[in-house]
């Protein structure tokens, strides 16, 4: 039994991303995992890092009362599951801003006095899963450099446990697929998360 934090973003309730999110949670529940969900749209999360947050970059999460539940969820999680559409080869603004604002000093990393670099602090996170859909093909995403995937699996992962594992469940070419293709993929998603 693992403590799983599922973060989902898509502006539309009828989107494929939302169906994938339902399958992820169903799978995790079936496998008996503990779960917390952050639905960035339901809570109208503002992704814009503020001037105060920037000037207090090395401040404490105690200064950010509006983010306290997000911070607590991040510190609680052993596994993070991100469910989002890939736009312009990366996370949509709302999810990118969740990284910008919540993965803050003294939560995701720390910067001791006199240090010359930051140190990872989310050692509780031992697994990160990404579930995403792309309008373009796998080849186009390869040429574009898979920026969104790099941000999660390299940059953010480096703040987690050194042996943190990753998984990437992606659907490409969504504009050219049929309902049957979607169903098949959603089935794979549920199966993967119910293990």
């Amino acid at each position: 039994m693992t403590r799983c934090l599922v973060v989902v973003h898509h502006p539309r309730s009828d989107a494929l991303t939302r169906s994938a999110f339902e399958r992820v949670t169903r799978g995790l529940a079936a496998a008996g995992h503990e779960m917390r969900v952050i639905d960035l749209d339901a809570e109208e999360f503002d992704p814009r890092l503020t001037a105060h947050e920037h000037t207090q970059h090395f401040g404490s999460p105690a200064d950010r009362p509006d983010l306290i539940e997000h911070v607590a969820a991040l510190q609680w999680a052993e596994r993070i599951v991100l469910v989002y559409p890939t736009w312009f080869s990366g996370q949509p603004a709302r999810l990118k801003g969740w990284f910008d604002r919540v993965w803050m000093h003294d939560v995701a990393f720390h910067f001791p006095d006199g240090a010359t670099r930051i140190y990872a602090k989310l050692r509780n996170v031992k697994r990160i899963d990404v579930v995403t859909s792309h309008g373009s093909s796998r080849l186009v995403n390869f040429v574009q450099g898979n920026g969104g995937r790099l941000i999660v699996f390299r940059t953010l992962r480096l703040m987690c446990h050194p042996l943190c594992r990753t998984s990437f469940t992606a659907l490409y070419d969504v504009d050219r697929l049929s309902q049957g293709d979607f169903e098949a993929w959603l089935g794979q998603v549920e199966q993967r998360f119910s293990r």
Binding site: F88, S89, A93, V143, Q144, R154, L158, R176
Partner: protein, 209 residues
């Protein structure tokens, strides 16, 4: 030429603002016309609404958000697009990422081929330029992959025309820099923009300082 400078930084008086000023100084020295979009200054909303997403294929023709419709007009006007931003978690700040998501619409930046449903780029730019700062040293960015830079030099570049020149200027390890090093990078940025016309090939470099 017509230059559109898009800038994202929350703190007035930041080094990023000085970079923006250097870009503008260089461009005006060369006699270009300049428009600036200060995303934090106009309190830009970077997330798409449900309606915007539903109407995604056609909304660019008559966008209900006056900010976005103005930015679409500016994109049609611009020959040069400059993105000035700090790199956070190796990518764009959310407000800048959302500017791409909401402005680079079908009919504005690309169209979908009716037969194959594939994206055909339609950004008619002569120059596409990214100017950024990083907290991390250069080797670290090589290791993590520099997603923000890829978004400019690959993802955006792919929807531009054949003749678009791409330039990318970045200053690594910003916090460890002396005043002299910071000023030198500002001067490098200004001179790059004052001499844009002489850029004949794409340069995709980080500052060598």
């Amino acid at each position: 030429m017509h230059a559109l400078v898009v800038h994202a930084h929350p703190v007035a008086g930041s080094y990023s603002h000085a970079l923006r000023d250097a870009v503008v100084a260089g461009l005006s020295r060369a006699g270009h016309e300049i428009e600036i979009i200060d995303l934090y200054g106009i309190d830009y909303r970077p997330w798409m609404t449900s309606d915007e997403h539903r109407d995604y294929d056609t909304i660019g023709a008559d966008h209900p958000d006056p900010d976005v419709s103005r930015h679409i007009e500016l994109m049609a006007w611009a020959d040069v697009l400059v993105l000035v931003y700090p790199t956070w978690w190796s990518g764009f700040p959310a407000i800048m990422k959302g500017w791409l998501d909401r402005t680079m619409l079908p009919g504005v930046a690309f169209r979908l081929d009716e037969r194959t449903n594939k994206v055909k780029g339609s950004l008619e730019l002569r120059h596409l330029v990214g100017v950024t700062t990083y907290g991390s040293p250069r080797w670290y960015l090589y290791f993590v992959g520099d997603a923000g830079r890829r978004t400019v030099t690959r993802t955006l570049r792919m929807i531009c025309g054949r003749s678009t020149k791409t330039t990318f200027l970045g200053l690594h390890k910003l916090d460890g820099r002396t005043e002299a090093e910071r000023s030198a990078f500002l001067a490098e940025v200004e001179s790059t923009f004052a001499n844009l016309d002489s850029v004949s090939v794409s340069t995709n470099k980080a500052s060598t300082q």
